[in-house]
Assembly symmetry: D2
Homo-oligomer: 286 residues x 4
């Protein structure tokens, strides 16, 4: 079961002939073995996307040398890229408010080893979930926040996240809107769960709106946070059927199961380096 460490390269660039040949040739040339290669060409916008993962064992270049040796290729094809090593775990902070179902779900997936990440801290604008954090032994930081104090408090949060070397922020039903400054500090690294099948029912109280509208399905959407509320690139969505027998409280109960699983799938994919963003849409490699 235990695999040797791998390198994963995520990249996007304008499409043109020879990209796959150049990159797979690079790995072959240094005695590497590709264990996963998935590419996608969006012909409408002439864009090329690729995820390539290869084993470090037997590879003729050191980790340090890999990035440098790839730079000429990146430049030749005008590539946007990121390079990751499978044994360097993402470090994620979880932001919460009052609801704890997503928090518990993430922590138990972490504890079981399903989510291969470090969770150095939990941040909340309220104190309600401190006992839940303690139960799993994760440090809890309480940052009360108001419109007036938001710039200052967010600056403190960002400083703390930097100190903890956090690279991923998970909003697990965090009921505060992040400022544009915060979002810019972690571009495409802040994952939110919204409790509707966006773009239906953006904003607050989507289950109430959905019940009023009389829909026959409810959903949840996980997306990267951008400056535009509920408008960021969608990573994952799922739905469940409802009927006239379901009250708004049933919607909320059933929806929680969706929120947990949709957020967990998005976090899993993000931390497995399977998600690329391009023009407000995601490419999610299988």
């Amino acid at each position: 079961m235990e695999r040797s460490p791998t390198a994963t390269l995520l990249l996007s660039c304008p499409d043109r002939p020879g990209i796959v040949a150049a990159l797979s040739g690079y790995v072959a040339e240094h005695q590497g073995n590709v264990v996963h290669l998935d590419q996608h060409v969006d012909q409408e916008i002439n864009a090329f996307f690729m995820r390539m993962e290869w084993e470090l064992e037997g590879f003729s270049l050191s980790r340090e040398a890999i990035q440098e040796s790839l730079l000429p290729l990146f430049e030749r094809f005008s590539m946007a890229w990121s390079l990751h090593f499978s044994d360097v775990k993402p470090r994620a902070a979880i932001f919460v408010t009052k609801e704890k179902h997503c928090l518990y779900d993430l922590l138990s997936r972490h504890e079981s080893g399903e989510l291969k990440i470090d969770i150095p801290l939990i941040i909340s604008n309220r104190e309600d979930l401190e006992p839940a954090a303690e139960r799993f032994g994760v440090p809890f930081h309480h940052f009360p926040i108001s419109e007036a104090t938001k710039p200052e408090v967010e600056a403190q949060e960002i400083a703390l996240l930097r100190r903890e070397r956090v690279d991923t922020v998970i909003l697990a039903r965090y009921m505060q809107i992040l400022s544009a400054d915060f979002v810019e500090a972690f571009p495409r690294q802040v994952i939110n769960i919204h409790h509707s099948f966006l773009p239906a029912f953006p904003g607050a109280r989507p289950y109430h709106s959905a019940h009023r509208r009389g829909v026959k399905i409810i959903g949840a959407t996980s997306h990267y946070v951008t400056e535009d509320l509920d408008e960021g690139p969608i990573i994952e969505q799922d739905v469940v059927h409802v009927t006239h027998r379901d009250s708004v409280h049933d919607f909320i109960r059933k929806g929680k199961d969706l929120e947990k699983v949709v957020l967990a799938r998005a976090v899993w994919r993000h931390t497995q380096r399977r998600v690329l963003v391009h023009q407000n849409r995601t490419v999610v490699f299988g």
Copy 2:
């Protein structure tokens, strides 16, 4: 397999004690046998809904006498009601424009006996699907329509539908907006299929909008037509997952399968007298 004819009563009223007892008592008193009874109480709005179906064989009242004998009950409980007999088939007109997948689907369900309805005619604002109608032997009526001629043409259509004793209108990808007058002529009897999971992507070209937004699910919605475009009571919705590999043409291809099945389910339930409308929401009895 062949069952004896049944009577079906659909009703809604303010909730209060004794309604079920009164109605089931009525059937028992006349030696009837209930084969389906489903009720629903919406406590939030204090409303009661019921569908009761009983066998006519052995029932001590004639069909003609049933309605009259129930009137005092309807009045006592301030009931909105409708009464149907299972061997009196609904008569449905299908409206189409260019797309034929829903039309073919409905006609083949009709031919196979799954949809127990009569389809006396097909109406279209274009001539494209006349051969398809002919193939199934259903009379095809071409009513070209423009904004200027709409009132007059719709009046002709309504007259034709009346002559043909049509009680249900199915918009099978009919690309014309019906006027309020038309809708009023067939209140809660006009069923539309919209190619998105409403309320997301109302209006035209929803697959294109969905693709641009980068959603991970697409859907279809069947609803009763009201004066407010795409805002009528929803009867049925379903979705299918999509990925970044799906172009807008794949969305359209996958969506067609949804449209067919979602519309067919709505028509089946409507013609089985399983749908009640209350305050822009439906109660769909199982």
Copy 3:
């Protein structure tokens, strides 16, 4: 939101005219208000099933008098029945072995108030999950068991469950087969989660079998335990799509999410008194 207590009557009997009238008449006669009535007639086997729930507030009979006053009705129609009060919580014991995802899931649903039950104890044939039980403050009982000691150990377990007045046993990935004696001690009160879409892949290691067979969906099944392993009445099933990219470990990871939610839904329905069993099939009221 807080509703007054209700009485719920679950019953089955041979179908014949007048049952609904008799039961709804009974409630009306004593000034009761029915908040939920769902009946089902299985014409193939001539069986009648009903769930009726009515408010105790304003009802003219005391709780003690209800059962006695209904006995003549039960006898007249040869009814199998059970009577429950909404403020008398079911008492459930959770049986586990090593896997903790279902246990955590149930405990956090219990803690959040979603599952309105008491969980007086957790029983395991291993010690692995004692810390998990402690974390949620639920007493943990370790009963090591072998084929030789099974009769004796099970007798001790049954005695403990009786002392704790447990009425529902939840097998949350309990990897021991219960004896017929144990099952008989809690007839139709033992709920199991099996990690396949039964009847496919009964027995052990279903994910491995499913992977070998190359299925494109995997599933989970919650059912009442009977003497026949994996053959009991099914309460709930659900599935998720898989592809050739999913290894057996991915099947297991994805399957865990199914197991949690399918078991939780079954427990919720069981403890809400929505499930009836008849001839190895369930009627699950909506």
Copy 4:
């Protein structure tokens, strides 16, 4: 929208370093542009699978030269392979018996251009569906068959299929078991639809078995036909939820919708050259 013709290469071989580099290098070397490349490594069995599609426009080799120029590569890596051109349509024969829902569905998808195949003929062991075939203008061949005549009749069918240059056989609810000889004549080219979520309910009358078992989901499975009945490699499966209210006739009605869409998806993928078979499992490229 109209794309230039492409070549598609499907292949499998033992995994080893350099395969992608060699193949993508080949295309790049001849000025080709890859529009789709998807590979999969099954580490458990050390197998490599790939689908590569590239534009013929601008490619420096003629169609005739492509296969020959690839042979050394195929040999070097011990590849099993097939090569296809997008403008050479698959030729499919549809086999039917009495049920026509799948036949109609395939023919209307063909007529609308969704299925880019030729359908030169329909074969049946009964005459029932001749009018349906005529309606769509497809030649209908009636081959009555019995256990005694099977070898001879199948030989005639094979001869006819050869004359019509048929490469794909679609069993659209064909209620006859094909002999091993027939299956060998079209290896991995015979697609069947089975009306259950295999491996549950193999054999005849699966809806009846499913109803008796009391399942909460029913399904359909499309697979390649092998000598072992209902045991061939699965291409696609899907399910729909059912409840106690659904009679076996409702199972059949709901199941038909599954059968249509599951078979159509399998045929679409097969004819788009997206399916590889290895050790009784399929790799279905996205």
